[in-house]
């Protein structure tokens, strides 16, 4: 039996080794920072942005990555909280002059601007950039369909768009809208219409990013793996002086590495391998990181966001209102608060707190018995459902939770977990089979309630690709209200109307919303946490990072 004893000893040793291996992190080597001004920021994202092309990206990761590489005519103030929702001029000299009953916007390009490759910026680059964005079927296209001829251009792909006039000599840009649009100034500050040189190819530039006008330029991009920034040489020579409201940035550049294991990311920030992780710590480490580092390396701030489960309202079984309402009764936001480990507060409505028009209501208090009864009465013909979610924690667990809720209600479910890199692209493509229900979240593009209705719940936003109306919700009365409200300037009356619209849509239950998330900034002890600016639209600004 000596042999047996030896084997038992090996077993114990192997178990110890397995524990050791499991607790080892991956991670990349660190290039380190400088100390004080300059240095290279070594940061990590959990996934590569959907696109590294400003015309196409529609994710927090993408906008955070490109906010200081590509500038639109207008932009958001570099400030935390509500102050950061103020629209300020970027490439434009001033905010637009609005005339013709809110239908004409006139702006002037600042003189002497240059792209990071030295090409001068021209006024005609703006209409080119809008046309390129629409030609690429960008998910942001519909924001600009109010420009005269833009919708027709989207169909024919034949330009130019008659509603945009640009004069390269004077720098004047005139935009004529078909109808007034209360949100258009905000939309001119989105990255979709960041100005690009006219030789930019009509294709996704993620692997070879185009030159930009911001303080940093992307020097290397490896989709799926990471990317690098350096200072834009023409910022100091030309653009920085022309745009004094925009900071030049402290660090000399940044190297971003995609590390898909969030636990490893936390370890690597703790031990200084990385200076910052863009995504929040995973739920398993959230409480520990908060307890150990809050105030010194970790900061939590509210976001204007809604997390929700969508249901395809055009296909059985969710084409039945009673089924959708039953699902709403069955989703327990208190359970999801625990799944998000305290980084989410429960809610059952579309508009999040902090967004104008938000008025709290609760149409579907958790009642599983009632939900089951409703399903029994509805007796849906199709009980086979595919549930879609991404693989980032804790969204994957939220998806698993939803899958189990539907199973509890008697559905035969299949859960599809997709990589966060392409989740949005896959579920936004209507040729993907079995898009029945799934998880999604929405962070504000701009501080206007229209941003939570038009792209996500208006019939006109249903597109073959880059579709964000995953619920395929197309109610003529709701569509009309969304359009009418978008044409008005936001005031108390409109806010009340948006609050009513929120409740009206939730009565039809295309979603089962479950909460609003906080976001965190977690940096290494080399970084000055107080200097980091988190903008509600763009995320953390690269220019605000500085080494201690």
């Amino acid at each position: 039996m000596k042999k047996l004893g030896a084997v038992i000893a090996i077993l114990v040793l192997a178990a110890v080794a397995a524990i050791g291996l499991a607790s080892c992190g991956g991670g990349d080597d660190s290039s380190g920072g400088g100390g004080g001004k300059g240095g290279i920021l070594n940061a990590t994202y959990a996934s590569f942005p959907d696109y590294m092309d400003p015309a196409l990206s529609y994710t927090v990761e993408g906008w955070t990555a490109m906010a200081e590489v590509y500038l639109p005519l207008l932009t958001y103030k570099h400030a935390n909280g509500d102050e950061g929702t103020e629209v300020i001029p970027a490439l434009a000299k001033e905010l637009p002059e609005i005339s013709n009953g809110g239908k004409t916007y006139t702006l002037f390009l600042r003189p002497g601007l240059k792209y990071s490759d030295g090409t001068p910026v021209k006024a005609s680059d703006f209409p080119f950039s809008v046309e390129r964005m629409i030609e690429l079927n960008s998910p942001g296209s519909t924001f600009y369909f109010s420009i005269e001829g833009a919708e027709e251009f989207a169909e024919t792909k034949k330009g130019p768009i008659p509603g945009i006039e640009a004069d390269d000599k004077t720098g004047e840009i005139v935009i004529n809208l078909e109808n007034p649009r209360g949100t258009f100034e905000n939309e001119l500050a989105l990255l979709f219409v960041a100005v690009l040189p006219q030789d930019t190819p009509l294709e996704d530039m993620s692997a070879d990013p185009a030159p930009g006008t911001g303080p940093y330029m992307i020097t290397k991009s490896q989709p799926g793996k990471g990317w690098e920034y350096k200072r834009n040489p023409y910022w100091e020579k030309a653009n920085g002086e022309a745009m004094p409201d925009l900071p030049a940035g402290v660090v000399d550049g940044a190297k971003i590495t995609v590390i898909r294991n969030e636990v490893t990311q936390v370890d690597d920030v703790e031990n200084g391998t990385f200076d910052w992780m863009q995504n929040p710590p995973p739920s398993s480490r959230y409480a520990e990181v908060k307890e150990n580092f809050e105030g010194t390396q970790f900061r939590v701030e509210p976001t204007i966001s809604t997390y929700y489960f969508w249901m395809n309202t055009q296909e059985p079984p969710f084409d039945d209102l009673e089924v959708r309402q039953a699902v709403n009764y069955a989703v327990d936001d208190k359970a999801l608060e625990r799944i998000y480990a305290g980084s989410l507060s429960g809610s059952q409505q579309i508009l999040p707190p902090g967004m104008p028009g938000h008025e709290e209501f609760e149409l579907y208090p958790y009642d599983l018995a009632k939900a089951k009864q409703m399903i029994k009465e509805a007796n849906p013909s199709d009980m086979e459902i595919t549930v879609w979610t991404d693989d980032e924690s804790p969204n994957n667990e939220a998806g698993e939770y939803f899958n189990e809720v539907l199973t509890d209600l008697g559905f035969d479910t299949t859960l599809k977990l997709l990589s966060a890199d392409n989740f949005s692209t896959v579920i936004g493509n209507q040729s993907t089979p079995n898009l029945d229900a799934g998880w999604f979240n929405w962070f504000q593009d701009y501080p206007h309630p229209n941003d939570f209705f038009q792209p996500l719940l208006a019939g006109e936003s249903i597109t073959p690709t880059f579709n964000y109306n995953h619920a395929m919700f197309d109610d003529p009365a709701v569509n009309k209200k969304i359009t009418e409200l978008s044409e008005e300037q936001l005031g108390p009356e409109q806010e009340e109307a948006y609050a009513e619209l929120d409740e009206e849509i939730m009565e039809q239950a295309p979603w089962a919303p479950y909460g609003n998330r906080t976001v965190s900034t977690f940096v290494s002890d080399e970084i000055n946490l107080d200097s980091v600016i988190f903008n509600l639209t763009m995320g953390q600004y690269l220019s605000s990072f500085e080494f201690k």
């Binding site: 077993l11 939770y401 189990e404």
Partner: protein, 349 residues
């Protein structure tokens, strides 16, 4: 068997069994493996009568009574309850698996069923395919052998795990549809097929070698002379002589297939959530390693114990079924060792 029976009077299987039973290590680990099988087969009993929950049933906002005190299965901060052993009447014996609050012990038992099912099924398919291919290649030789052997070489030369991973991820999303064969994305058959296809060469190559040798034996020539057709010769004459090799490989392949499955599932390309296998459970456990290390250790230990048992049993079977093979191997190893060490009196250059 009667007392006093000589070895010459015993059949080869009886002798093999006797040799196997004398290998105490192999017998001990066969017992361990059988205990594991009983453990996973008892999953519904434990789930229904002790834990009173299913493997995928979530208890995020539930409480459990531990020594008369109500405790959250998952705290508001998202921390799952730890091992309760029998303090809660067997509920959450190993704790909750994640913030979804599923019973870890129940998932471990059901996950073991999945892992064993995938391992045994994949090994069985791979063995059947390998035997057929090995027989055809070794018996017919010529172009049939060339095509089969080169195909096996090609599969062998591929980075099997990386390809399995890529194929697994692609099929986990889109499923598989080839003619009438249709598999949904989350089907267990996807990892089973991936593993079995990529492991065929590991069995088919040695079997082909043995068939090449056996087909030149007198009993094969005799069968052919008596008018036996190729199918009868292959499956009636040669295959029975391959039985010991096939049994040994099959046992070892179960272990390999289980490891393959654990690796694929750990990386998200094998068994799909919410179903559990020991591989997926390690993934979930690693996420919570700091606060509940047992969640990764328990399934990891089960994988290790099962694979080790099967390997030792496989070695024992080989020694029992083919003692000359072991003697040949021992002789070869001794020869290699002698060649490597300098002879007495010899000087180094």
């Amino acid at each position: 068997m009667q007392d006093g029976e000589t070895s010459a009077e015993r059949g080869p299987w009886s002798l093999a069994l006797r040799r196997f039973l004398h290998n105490r290590l192999a017998v001990a680990f066969l017992g361990v493996f059988l205990l594991i099988v009983v453990f996973v087969l008892a999953a519904p009993l434990w789930a229904d009568h002790v834990a009173e929950t299913g493997p995928n049933q979530e208890h995020t906002v539930d409480t459990v009574t531990v020594d008369g005190e109500e405790r959250d299965v998952v705290t508001p901060e998202g921390k799952p309850i730890g091992p309760q052993w029998f303090d809660a009447g067997g509920k959450f014996f190993l704790g909750a698996d994640s913030r979804l609050g599923r019973d870890e012990m129940v998932r471990l038992m059901y996950g073991g069923r999945t892992s064993l099912l995938v391992g045994i099924s994949a090994a069985l398919i791979a063995t059947i395919l390998a035997v057929v291919l090995g027989l055809v290649a070794g018996y017919y030789r010529g172009w049939a052998d060339s095509i089969i052997a080169r195909t096996l070489d090609t599969i062998w030369s591929l980075p099997v795990f990386l390809i399995g991973l890529s194929v697994g991820i692609a099929l986990a999303v889109g499923g598989l549809k080839i003619g009438p064969l249709e598999l949904a994305g989350g089907s267990l058959w996807i990892p089973i097929l991936i593993i079995s296809i990529f492991t065929v060469p590991y069995i088919a190559r040695p079997i082909r070698g043995e068939v090449l040798s056996l087909s030149e034996k007198e009993f094969v020539e005799a069968a052919v002379a008596q008018g036996a057709g190729p199918l009868r010769v292959m499956f009636g004459e040669i295959l029975p002589n391959l039985a010991s090799t096939v049994i040994v490989f099959f046992t070892l392949m179960i272990a390999n297939a289980m490891l393959f499955e654990a690796g694929l599932s750990f990386l998200g390309a094998g068994v799909q959530p919410p179903n559990s296998s020991w591989g997926t459970m390690v993934t979930v456990g690693v996420d919570l390693l700091r606060i509940q290390p047992l969640l990764a250790i328990a399934p990891g230990f089960m994988i290790m114990l099962t694979v080790l048992s099967l390997n030792i049993v496989g070695d024992g079977l080989r020694d029992a079924l083919d003692p000359r093979g072991k003697a040949r191997l021992d002789a070869a190893l001794q020869f290699e060792a002698q060649a490597a060490s300098p002879e007495p009196g010899a000087t180094r250059p």
